[in-house]
C-alpha cells in the first residue's frame, strides 16, 4: 500500500541528491521501506520507481533474488542496505541480482545510515555500481561505476 506520510527533511534531501545523480541510488526510511530509487537505478532494477512504488523491506530484499558472486542465495540480513538499517553503520558487498527484466547482474553495493544526531535515525541510502552481467556483458550506460570502471 502506498505510504503517504510526510517525509523528514533528511529523506527529502537524500531523494533530491539521488534524483540528480547518474549513480544508481536506493533511499529507505527508518522502517526499511523503499521510498525512492532514481532513474539510474532503473537500468539495474528494470522499471521506474513510479511503476514499482514503495516497497517494504521484505519485498525489496527478496524481489531481486540476491546471490553471492558464487551463486549462493543471500538472506535479507546479508544485504548491505539491511545491515546499514540494522546496525546503523556503513556496509559494503559485491552481490548478484536478477532485475525485473530477468537479467542477472553483478553489482557492488555501498550502504550507509542517515544518522541525524542523538538517537534520531532517518533511514539509509545504498549506491550501486554494476560490475557486469552474469552472462559476461555490460549493462547499459549509466549503470556503471565512475568512469565505467569496475568498482568494488
Amino acid at each position: 500500500m502506498e505510504e503517504t506520510r510526510h517525509k523528514t527533511l533528511i529523506l527529502i534531501l537524500a531523494r533530491e541528491l539521488a534524483t540528480n545523480l547518474a549513480t544508481p541510488v536506493f533511499v529507505v526510511d527508518p522502517e526499511g521501506t523503499l521510498v525512492f530509487y532514481n532513474e539510474a537505478a532503473e537500468g539495474i532494477l528494470g522499471d521506474p520507481f513510479d511503476v514499482v512504488g514503495q516497497l517494504t523491506r521484505d519485498q525489496w530484499a527478496t524481489m531481486f533474488s540476491p546471490e553471492a558472486p558464487d551463486g549462493t542465495p543471500l538472506q535479507p540480513e546479508q544485504l548491505p542496505l539491511v545491515r546499514a538499517l540494522k546496525d546503523h553503520a556503513p556496509a559494503h558487498a559485491q552481490i548478484r541480482i536478477t532485475g525485473r527484466d530477468e537479467v542477472r547482474r553483478d553489482i557492488a553495493v555501498t550502504a550507509f545510515p542517515l544518522l541525524v544526531g542523538g538517537e534520531e535515525f532517518a533511514g539509509a541510502v545504498a549506491i550501486f555500481w554494476e560490475r557486469g552481467t552474469a552472462e559476461g556483458h555490460r549493462g547499459p550506460p549509466g549503470t556503471r561505476g565512475p568512469g565505467g570502471n569496475e568498482t568494488g
Binding site: 510526510h6 527533511l9 527529502i12 533530491e16 541528491l17 544526531g117
Partner: protein, 284 residues
C-alpha cells in the same frame, strides 16, 4: 491571534529612500495570542523597535522562535531590551544541531569580537529549547516546527489557535534540484507546517531569472513560492525575506507577477501580498 511585522528584509538590513514602503529591517514578526502570550518569530533588526514598543511594562514571559541562526535572523537580539532586564522570563527556541546546542551556537554571536558582551553576562539569562519534534502548547496556542530546506539547520514554525493558523517559512528553498510542481506533497519540504495554513509567510527573495544564478543559496523565487503555496493549499501567501537589492518598485513588480501566477492557477482572492513593516493581520 494578532500578527505584526517588524522586519521582512532578507540577508541584510537595507534602510533608505528606496525601501521605505516595505522597510529595511531584517526578519522579526510579533504574534499575540488571544490570552496575551507574546511570541516573536526571529530576532532580526526588527526586534529592536519591537522591544521598545513593549515598554514600560513588557510581558512577564516572552517566547522567541528562531527559524535559524543566520545573522539576519539573530543580529537584533543584543538590542532587544528585555534581554537586559534581570528576571525577564525569556525562552529562546531554535533548530537543533547534531553538533552543538542552541545555546552554544547563539553564544558564538554573543561573544567578542562579534559582540562586546558574552551570553553568560546577559542579565535575562534566557532559557534555550530545541524546536520541538511534537506539538507543544504555549499560552492559548499550539506550536509545531519542522526542519526545512535551507543552508544549515533551519525550521519552519506553525502557530495555531482556535482553528486559525500562521505558517512561517522565511528562508526556504523547497525547489532545489526538483520540479516542485510535479512533486507529491509528502515529498515537499515544509509541507507539514504549511499545509492549509490561513496565512503563510514565505521566502520570495528572487525573481525567476535571479534564482537561476542563485540555486542552492537557500531561498525561493516568486514562482516557486506560488507553487509551494498552491501545493500546500494555504489561504493567503505573504511574500517575505525581500532581497536587500530590491527597491520598493522592484518588489511591487514581483507582487504583480505573483498574483498573475496565483490567479492563472485557480487561486482565490487577491493572491500573494508583500510583507511590509507595520503590516498587521488579525486571525481571531
Amino acid at each position: 491571534m494578532r500578527i505584526r511585522v517588524w522586519g521582512c528584509r532578507g540577508s541584510l538590513a537595507s534602510p533608505g529612500p528606496e525601501t521605505i514602503r516595505y522597510g529595511g529591517n531584517t526578519s522579526c514578526v510579533e504574534v499575540r495570542l488571544d490570552d496575551g502570550t507574546l511570541i516573536i518569530l526571529d530576532a532580526g533588526t526588527g526586534i529592536r523597535p519591537l522591544g521598545l514598543s513593549l515598554l514600560p511594562d513588557p510581558p512577564p514571559t516572552i517566547h522567541l522562535f528562531l527559524s535559524h541562526l543566520h545573522l539576519d535572523h539573530l543580529e537584533g537580539l543584543g538590542f532587544f531590551l528585555p534581554v537586559w532586564q534581570p528576571g525577564a522570563d525569556l525562552h529562546i527556541w531554535g533548530p537543533p544541531s547534531p553538533v552543538r546546542t542552541l545555546e552554544q551556537r547563539v553564544a558564538r554571536y554573543f561573544s567578542p569580537p562579534l559582540f562586546p558582551v558574552h551570553l553568560s553576562e546577559i542579565p535575562a539569562h534566557p532559557k534555550f529549547h530545541d524546536a520541538p519534534e511534537a506539538p507543544v502548547r504555549i499560552g492559548s496556542g499550539t506550536i509545531i516546527s519542522e526542519p526545512i530546506a535551507h543552508r544549515g539547520p533551519t525550521v519552519g514554525w506553525r502557530i495555531s489557535e482556535d482553528g486559525r493558523s500562521l505558517a512561517y517559512l522565511t528562508d526556504h528553498e523547497p525547489a532545489q534540484g526538483v520540479d516542485l510542481g510535479s512533486m507529491s506533497p509528502e515529498w515537499i519540504s515544509g509541507y507539514q507546517v504549511a499545509q492549509e495554513a490561513d496565512v503563510l509567510f514565505h521566502d520570495a527573495q528572487y525573481t525567476a531569472e535571479e534564482y537561476l544564478e542563485r540555486q542552492g543559496w537557500g531561498h525561493s523565487s516568486v514562482d516557486d513560492m506560488v507553487t509551494f503555496a498552491r501545493a500546500c493549499r494555504v489561504g493567503w501567501p505573504v511574500m517575505f525575506h525581500h532581497d536587500p537589492l530590491h527597491t520598493d518598485d522592484d518588489l511591487e513588480k514581483m507582487q504583480a507577477h505573483a498574483r498573475a501566477l496565483w490567479q492563472s492557477d485557480g487561486g482565490v482572492g487577491e493572491g500573494p501580498k508583500l510583507a511590509h513593516e507595520g503590516m498587521e493581520l488579525d486571525l481571531s
